[in-house]
Amino acid sequence: MWDYSEKVIEHYRNPRNVGKLDDADAIGIAGSLACGDQLKIYLKIKNNIVVDAKFQTFGCGSAVASSSILTEMIIGKSLDEVKKITNKDIADQLGGLPPEKMHCSVMGYEALEDALKNYDDYVDLDDLREEPVKEKIICQCFGVTENQIWDAIKHNGLKTVEEVTNFTKAGGACGRCKDAIKDIIDTYYKKQEKEENTSLSPAQKILKISKVIETQIAAELQKDGGDITLVDIDGSKVYVKLRGKCSGCKNAMMTLKGFVENTLKEAVDKNIEVIEVE
């Protein structure tokens, strides 16, 4: 049996705002019958305020609870506030969901997003996110798009394929898209790291360089009996003292320097130049 929170149990036993709004201003749908869960959300909007919301859900206990609490979360809120709601907020409001059930909260978020997209005055969420539209379907079995996976990674800090499956179902059936999911995860974190690095202040950059040397480079060199000491940093110039296993051998030292430089370029800044000091 699932370890559902009190709040989840309370909501699937007594779901709030069940039904349909005949004069809805926006309707959003997420999920499908084949996948085993579908959520329809109806919004009544006046002067940019959600004045009423109702839902109909085909799904398990946590899907009903996610839908139910979502309607409670948005009624009375302005559209600007509603747009900020993520799946994580839904799960948090429910006092958490079992990892395998996180996709229920994602479905709530997607239905809401769909409803807002369908609302006339609405500005495309993708523009707000400043991220490219990625409607390419990654998981054929559950019809999960690249964009949905990207969002789930972003909002929940997902790191593994298994986590992505728990949150979006992608990869949960035939598993053929697992490589593609891994690629999206890698791309996301590479992109994030790049963004972090371009906005690094000089002090942050120094800290980052010394951290990379300490955790990645020194550890690697020490395996072979070598070592590295950071001497100074001046802009993009990094002065280090190197000690290789075959210190004195010029070729070996060149290779070593190349390894250090490439690692720092990759991790911190592509303009970094490593200078060896005696």
Binding site: Y12, V18, G36, K40, Q56, F58, C60, E100, G172
Partner: protein, 397 residues
């Protein structure tokens, strides 16, 4: 609130007589059945006695044909790997699409190890495609494994016919039967069936969890899975689990005696439950054909509502059942058995399996018949498929 346990295909209550037969072997008769001194003799005799009870349960020729295991999964693994290891020159296996995961996942693994596996399909009634089976058996087929009865639907497969077909195509091909869901529900006669190996699990027929048995006929050679001591004639190492073996022996005797009750009374209650739910709930649909089924099982789909949600609400009124929906297991895909039968998704996700036992009472069945319709009515109200539901209602009226 009383507990109404209708999930006996998952596990069963240990019979009081079984438990009391086991107790002395924890406290007084704790000897190792393999020791030679007088004190251990009663443990050794108890194991021997239980072996005899299992022999009778299977109607095997000889007590030596019985190997005690830890349960259904081990029995299946021992049988399948054991046969394949003894027939290294053959690389082909045939099974069905509706086997239990303990068998299917093993075959997936064997495919990775280089075996070719054919998965025989079923029709929408759940009946096995025997023609397909006939076509697939060839000189390279080491093993055919078909379950006796399906855990989700209760459908009984024609094992005797399967054996005839297989042996007529290739005498050397061995037939393993996963008998876990048949044990205690219908008669198992390995000689009449003509099977080479058949596995059962004690906890499905009122013995405790953690004990099972594998029947291996004398003409079938297998290698052990667990290597170690000489127990079970070298086929399964490990100190004999005396109290559990004793318990399963007693349970097997009781089960054999209770088959008539299963076939009449348990079946009557199952049919009553099934008929009334189908009659009183408009979106209810029988997920199997009215084919040969074990007497205790029914699988009903409640269209356009989801199984886990039904189970949670049943649990709130004290009723235990199970579902083939994707959500209940943590797997994201719904029942492979119902999908193999082409049951529509609208019904698979809302499928509920009730499985009764000798302890199920008429009062309990009446309680479910009375209390389930309002639950379904409430959940129908939440469904986004109101138009489709209205159409079914009209059709049924």
């Amino acid at each position: 609130m009383n507990l109404i346990y209708l999930d006996n295909n998952a596990t069963t209550k240990v019979d009081d007589a079984v438990l009391s037969a086991m107790m002395p072997y924890f406290s007084e008769q704790y000897g190792n059945a393999s020791s030679i001194y007088e004190f251990a003799r009663s443990a050794s005799r108890a194991v021997q006695n239980a072996r005899g009870q299992m022999k009778d349960f299977f109607n095997a020729e000889n007590e030596k044909d019985i190997i005690f295991t830890s349960g259904g999964s081990e029995s299946a693994n021992l049988a399948i790997r054991g046969v394949l290891n003894m027939n290294k020159n053959k690389r082909h296996i045939i099974t069905s699409k509706v086997e239990h995961p303990c068998v299917l996942n093993l075959y997936n693994q064997l495919e990775k190890e280089g075996y070719r596996v054919d998965y025989i399909g079923v029709n929408s009634n759940g009946e096995l495609d025997l023609e397909e089976l006939n076509e697939k058996v060839n000189f390279d087929t080491a093993l055919v494994s078909i379950m006796f009865a399906n855990n989700e639907t209760g459908i009984i497969y024609p094992i005797q016919k399967v054996v005839e077909i297989v042996k007529s195509k290739n005498k050397e091909t061995k037939v393993f039967v996963d008998g876990v869901q048949a044990a205690g529900k219908i008669n198992i006669d390995v000689q009449e069936l003509g099977v080479d190996l058949l596995g059962v699990s004690g906890h499905k027929f009122h013995a405790p969890k953690g004990i099972g048995a594998l029947y291996v006929n004398p003409k079938t050679l297998i290698t052990p899975l667990i290597i170690g001591g000489h127990q079970e004639r070298g086929k399964r190492a490990g100190t004999e689990n005396v109290p559990y073996i004793v318990g399963m022996g007693v349970a097997a005797g009781l089960a054999k005696d209770g088959l008539q009750y299963e076939a009449t009374e348990v079946k009557r209650l199952r049919d009553k439950l099934e008929t009334n739910l189908l009659k009183n709930i408009y979106n209810a649909r029988l997920n199997t054909g009215v084919v040969n089924r074990v007497p205790n099982t029914t699988n009903i789909g409640f269209e356009y509502i989801e199984g886990e949600l039904i189970l949670l609400h049943l649990s709130d009124i004290g009723v235990c059942a199970s579902s083939g929906s994707a959500c209940t297991s943590g797997a994201l895909e719904p029942s492979h058995v119902l999908r193999a039968m082409n049951v529509p998704f609208t019904s698979i996700h809302g499928s509920i399996r009730f499985s009764l036992s000798k302890y199920t009472t008429e009062k309990e069945i009446d309680y479910v018949i009375e209390n389930m319709p309002p639950i379904i009515e409430k959940l129908i109200g939440i469904s986004p498929y109101q138009d489709e539901l209205a159409a079914i209602k009209k059709l049924k009226a």
